[in-house]
Amino acid sequence: MNFQYDSYAYFFDLLAFAPVLLLLYFSTSSPRLRRLAMTASGMYLMSFIAPRLVLFYLVFWLLVFFVHRCAFTEEGGRRPWLRGARRFLARFSIVLFALPLLLWKIYGNGFTLIFTAQGNELLSLFSTKLWELDMARSVVIPLGLSFTTFRALDLVIKTYLGKIENLRLDEVLFYGFFPPVQVFGPIIEYEDVARQDHNPDAALFLYGLLRVTGGFLKVFVAAAFMHPHVAFPAAPAALPVWVLWLKLLGYYLYLYLNFSGYSDVAVGASALFGFRIKENFNFPLWQTNIQDYWNSWHMSLTHWARRNVYVPAGGYRAETQYLAIFCTMMVIALWHKLTPACFIYGLYHGGLMAGYRHLSEARDGAAEGKTPLWRRPAAGRALTYLAVSVSLPLIFIPESQLLPYYAALLGMGR
């Protein structure tokens, strides 16, 4: 059974539809109509993955809107009986909106099967034709669920903190179904797309075109041709050690090209419509230490984690900073999968980050002298590249194959 859905198909649809959507979007100056065009297009494009997803996300964002309006608005805050309930509701809604993602991460394909069957059944209440078409689509994971969850949580937390107030339904749906980032790309914040009254901007449009083209070249030329060469081998012990290492180091490059390529397409597609969303990558392969690496890899996730985990956990206080680092890295790690291997991945990167922070502080206090070789930029880049590469199998190899793989990498088990 096909559980895979290639994000390529979504982005290809988005770009093929972009001329129509651009005409629709810029043919009116009314932000409300623009939001409507964009939201409807987001739903339309998602329906080609599976109509059940449209229904699910519609219900999801309606709930987000309900929580946003009913509990956290300024008027709500002034009512004493509601004020006491705000904290409870904030916590409850965070759990509620994170629940589908958590269930998916815990139960994996079991959740996907039930999600698909129930989603399809619900769809039959609205349209039998869509219900039938939905059955013909793949049994896929709820695509874009993690990105959606983070966006929704961000909105709820910001509403709770009073940073965002009184959004209308169409504004929340526009944020939820914003087509360039529905399935892949940076995790946007509401502020990134809050204004829809801009005029078309030639410079931004051309910039968008270039980013989209560059992104496609990264994904479909560089990464696509690299993949068969760097894919993790099924029988690692059969390969020479140096080949295994070459493949592992290559896999990191492939991963960067693929992920950042899709992010480029998402950033570029947003720019076509006049939105400048945040970048997701900043040359992570070129960074000289692990801290800079995490500040430049999947930046929208690390920024999200910094705002919502690192800072609340006391990252800026000396006595709690290391705990905050571990908590943040654990969230990032378990975002991939809720598995022991990802837990180890979190510990590993948390350890690296904490170690680097400790060394940096110790170095800052020490007298200046000759820079040792291992602290020179080239060595730092090489070490960071290596440190990141060796952790990738923890995420991308099935757990049962991890030990044989690492053993083969060290030349053992042959």
Partner: protein
């Protein structure tokens, strides 16, 4: 980006003219790249099975967006039979399945029929254009039928699938035929809502681009070709690869999933054989038991009805035969009943349109059916056609005679 302004390469200051220029350059490079890229030959399944017969396979492999061979033109001097087929027209060796079978293990029903038409009925000057796709479902059949009508053949032959042509479990299969849909649906407003729901923007773009943007339309085959060259040069790096990424080990295919969840409350044991794989016969019988065939308002039934309507309206002679099935289907009361309903429905259709050019074969006679060898445990797909090919050849011959299609013979 700096000061809210995006940074363009080489300090370029963009205006709308610049945007237009950039778009034109993109288009230019796409066209040039299309010219420079290798031009891989279309991979046409069943070519070997059709060798030495007047059968011409027309459909490429599923992920080739060219989909239908445009190089094959109709010969006005020859009788043109266009045969649309799902897996029921493909005969796989008993020890293989549709995934593992190679060209040597595969035969096709039209090749048997073509030989019968030549040897027993003396028909010589004819071609059978074979439009086959494994897993062709009602909406796909509708699209292929409209494509067939565009080519204006002398006779159209197509099987009716009693399980899925009238039920909701799988209204469409592969993505590739959708590329034909915009062209096929364009002058039929009644199909536009369906088109809007199934034809994705990229399907539309590929249709529009056609041969003009070869690098996009042939991206799949071009990539395979380049990859093949690259892989052979770096074989050490690809040695020992797992090939495909690990997939969830489920005994179900898509149809099996829906049947398991809709009819069996998730109990897959009632549709899987001893080997843990879904049994085609069990799946089909569950579909029959569900009573869903002939679901009047289903998209599948509507598509099948439209196929018949468009064929009738075209005036092109057409023969639609119900695919033969093994005895176990007739021994089970529920499936025998469902098959009976379909038979009665098709008979009623024949009676209602007696003077039309479409003839339906509601059921293959039992004496013919029993000569057929079906795949063991499957009873749906054929391994040896027995007298079935001769039966079909006779029906086709009758149609040819009825419409005096042998005009080219008489010349």
């Amino acid at each position: 980006m700096k000061d809210g302004k995006p940074k363009l390469p080489f300090g370029y200051e963009a205006g709308w003219q610049g945007v237009a220029r950039a778009c034109l350059w993109c288009l230019f490079f796409l066209v040039v790249a299309g010219g420079l890229a290798p031009h891989p030959a279309e991979e046409i399944p069943f070519t070997k099975a059709a060798a030495g017969t007047p059968v011409v396979p027309m459909v490429t492999i599923a992920d080739d967006h060219r989909l239908i061979r445009e190089d094959v033109k109709r010969d006005p001097e020859k009788l043109d039979i266009l045969w649309i087929s799902d897996s029921s027209g493909v005969l796989i060796a008993a020890d293989k399945d549709f995934v593992t079978a190679g060209e040597d293990d595969t035969r096709i029903l039209p090749a048997f029929v073509a030989r019968d038409l030549q040897d027993r009925y003396g028909l010589k000057n004819f071609t059978i254009h074979f439009y086959a796709q494994l897993g062709m479902h009602p909406v796909d059949k509708l699209i292929f039928t409209l494509e067939a009508l565009r080519r204006k053949p002398d006779l159209i032959v197509m099987p009716i699938n009693p399980f899925y042509d009238f039920s909701h479990y799988k209204v469409m299969g592969q993505n590739a035929p959708l590329q034909l849909a915009p062209r096929a649906f364009a002058d039929r407003p009644a199909l536009w809502p369906l088109g809007l729901a199934i034809v994705s923007p990229s399907n539309g773009l590929l249709t529009l681009a056609g041969d003009r943007l070869r690098v996009i339309c042939e991206a799949g085959p071009i990539k395979r070709e380049v990859e093949r060259n690259l892989l052979s040069r770096f074989s050490l790096l690809t040695h020992g690869n797992a090939g495909e990424e690990a997939k969830f080990d489920s005994p179900l295919n898509n149809v099996g999933f829906w049947i398991a969840y809709e009819l069996l409350g998730g109990d897959v044991s009632r549709i899987t054989g001893r080997d843990g794989k879904p049994s085609q016969q069990m799946l089909n019988q569950r579909v029959m038991e569900s009573g869903s065939p002939l679901l009047r308002h289903s998209l599948a039934t509507e598509s099948t009805r439209r196929v018949m309507d468009y064929l009738r309206q075209s005036g092109i002679p057409a023969l639609l035969y119900t695919m033969p099935l093994g005895d176990p289907y007739y021994l089970s009361p529920s499936s025998a009943n469902a098959l009976g309903n379909i038979r009665d429905y098709l008979r009623a259709e024949n009676r209602a349109h007696e003077k039309g050019t479409l003839r339906l074969i509601p059921e293959i006679p039992a004496n013919i059916r029993r000569t057929i060898t079906f795949r063991p445990g499957d009873n749906t797909h054929i391994t040896e056609p027995g007298a079935f090919d001769d039966y079909l050849a006779r029906q086709i011959w009758q149609e040819i005679g009825k419409y005096r299609l042998q005009k080219t013979e008489e010349k």
